[in-house]
């Protein structure tokens, strides 16, 4: 076993990127994601890579677009307002099918917001964000080791599907220090490189582009993307279950709040309430499959989110509205306590129990 080290979430992401063979990083500072560019500026050059602070986030994602077109492993990171500026580039990366890894350390919004954690960018992350009918593969880690492992894997997934991958964390996970095992990256499979541009030496020229000026061509490309997104939905849904098997009620939560929810589940079980948790690890594709065994069985569900109800829409769809789904949320950078979540669960599903 590799010795564990204590690191900040943001630094873990940066170190994982180096380990995954990321050779270029383009970014623009914004709290609470800045440790990523700072850490990489210090360490990536020693690993033979390049870090460049761009003129802005639009510049950074456009540089990623260019670098990814050469087949290089490339990453950018930012927080909510900066991610908004990257939406143009993300749409173009999705269209040109460029494997770029993007990190969003979600802070509060809308507008400039504040530096605390929120999950307010769920819609933006999972439903497009930029223009056009595209999807990002969205990964939502919830602890140090997962930050490391999923960041490394994000590069492989991006290469495999030739699609941008978004790692969605938040200000809390980014600043938190936990022990992490800096495992060497498992070998990647060989990826198709027959599309990259690196000078048309001894081969026909290649063009990386995202335009389709005829409607017929446009439809054909959109069908191709649709097929890819279907494959992703089929193969890449991921989630964790925690005491879900015999549960009467389920909490659905990801990232930071899923951690709090786990404690809530244990506290509830101590009180005799059969509560379980489903923690989506991929937010897109949303793990609909996780809900199949439970949608006829459970009596209700609660999503715990740091927004006014975004993921709840996907949970309702996954449960086909067969059981009531409620929302417990905190906003603006505040985190829920275990007690308040449990109180909500009790009030919602077991009225009368509180008085006992």
């Amino acid at each position: 076993m590799v010795k564990k080290v204590l690191m900040k979430g943001n630094e873990i992401i940066a170190q994982a990127a180096i380990e995954a063979g990321c050779k270029l990083f383009f970014g623009y500072p914004i709290t609470p994601s800045t440790e990523i560019i700072e850490y990489l500026a210090k360490h990536l050059p020693k690993a033979g890579g390049t870090v460049l602070q761009a003129e802005d986030e639009i510049g950074a994602i456009s540089m990623c677009y260019g670098a990814a077109a050469t087949g290089a492993r490339v990453m950018t990171a930012s927080s909510s307002p900066g991610i908004s500026l990257k939406q143009e580039g993300l749409s173009y990366c999705a269209a040109a099918e460029l494997p770029v890894v993007v990190v969003n350390v979600n802070r509060t919004g809308p507008g400039l917001g504040g530096l605390g954690p929120m999950q307010s960018d769920y819609f933006q992350s999972t439903k497009g964000g930029g223009h056009g009918d595209y999807r990002l593969l969205v990964l939502a880690p919830s602890k140090a080791q997962e930050l490391y492992d999923l960041t490394m894997e994000a590069f492989d997934l991006a290469d495999k599907y030739r699609n941008p991958v978004l790692l969605l964390t938040d200000g809390f996970l980014g600043q938190m220090m936990e022990p992490v095992e800096l495992k060497p990256k498992p070998a990647s499979p060989e990826f198709d490189r027959s599309w990259i541009v690196n000078g048309a030496k001894g081969r026909k020229k290649r063009i990386i582009a995202s335009y389709a000026l005829s409607n017929e061509v446009g439809e054909a490309i959109n069908l191709h993307w649709e097929a890819k997104y279907k494959e992703l939905k089929e193969k890449e849904q991921r989630w964790e279950e925690f005491y879900a098997g015999d549960a009467d009620y389920l909490i659905v939560s990801y990232g930071t709040t899923a951690r709090i929810a786990k404690s809530v589940v244990l506290n509830a079980r101590r009180k005799g309430i059969k509560l379980g948790l489903i923690r989506p690890i991929t937010l897109w594709p949303f793990p609909e499959k996780a809900f199949l065994p439970y949608k006829e069985k459970i009596k209700g569900a609660v999503t715990v989110e740091l927004n006014t109800g975004q993921m709840i829409e996907d949970v309702k769809l996954a449960l086909e509205c067969k059981v009531p789904v409620h929302l417990y949320r905190r906003l603006g950078g505040m985190l829920p306590t275990e007690d308040e979540i449990l109180a909500f669960v009790e009030k919602t599903f077991c009225p009368g129990l509180e008085e006992v």
Binding site: E55, V197, G199, K205, R206
Partner: protein
């Protein structure tokens, strides 16, 4: 009849799709010839913008990357940082480089990015039907300045090469025109120098080429050339605006 020149190996043979009298085609031909003469076609990756110039990836034989409106230089920077030994150039309209992409123009130059940018200045937005560009001259009519560009409302035109020349990372900046055979030759020389600057790794090089847009100017090809000479050339600083000692010694 004697064949004076054949098609450059830098051109794919896809016929230019520009309007009659548009000088975009001449400029692209010159770039292709330079790539061939420097023997760098197979080493070169072009970046195309959005605009009439945006179709250039079809006309060249080198690899091409096409991205969003205004982002060509940022994309080019990404390519060059990934492949420092290759030659990277951007081909951009004035709206692309001096309007929506200004931040990349300034910072690409300031950082001395080792790429070559060709700016094609026709004083308006060609592709979208002749709207005002940052380069539109005082009093000039466009579809969004139907009464002429009034500076009280729309401000003054930008002479981007002058701004770029002021930045330390830019080592070669030239403003040229393709209105006469002599100027065409001069333009080719400037473009060639801009690529040689990159080959020598000296810094950022920009060549701005004044170009016609008969369609949106509402003039015949001949009248367009005359209009360019009489209106654009007096306003824009012309010639070699900057060449560092190292560049002069190339």
């Amino acid at each position: 009849m004697e064949k004076v020149f054949g098609r450059s190996k830098g051109l794919s043979g896809t016929p230019f799709s520009f309007c009659p009298g548009c000088t975009h085609g001449i400029i692209m031909r010159l770039i292709a010839e330079v790539l061939e003469e420097l023997d760098i076609i197979e080493e070169t990756i072009g970046v195309s913008p959005v605009g009439c110039s945006g179709f250039c990836q079809d006309f060249f034989t080198c690899d091409f990357v096409s991205g969003a409106h205004g982002r060509a230089q940022a994309i080019g920077n990404g390519i060059k940082r990934a492949l420092p030994d290759k030659i990277v150039f951007t081909y951009q309209g004035d709206g692309d480089i001096a309007g929506i992409g200004t931040q990349h123009a300034i910072h690409t130059a300031a950082r001395g990015e080792k790429i070559t940018s060709i700016m094609v200045n026709n004083a308006l937005y060609g592709m979208t039907g002749g709207q005002m560009a940052p380069t539109t001259l005082k009093g000039m009519k466009t579809t969004t300045t139907p009464y002429g560009r009034e500076v009280e409302v729309y401000g003054y035109p930008i002479d981007l090469p002058k701004i770029i020349a002021a930045l330390d990372g830019a080592v070669y900046v030239a403003s040229v025109s393709v209105d006469t055979p002599k100027n065409v030759l001069q333009t080719k020389k400037a473009i060639k120098k801009a690529f040689r600057v990159q080959q020598a790794g000296l810094g950022f090089a920009l060549v701005s080429v004044l170009s016609t847009c008969p369609t949106n100017w509402g003039l015949s090809p001949q009248e367009s050339l005359k209009w360019l000479r009489e209106n654009m050339m007096p306003f824009y600083a012309m010639g070699e605006l900057k060449a560092t000692e190292e560049v002069k010694n190339l």
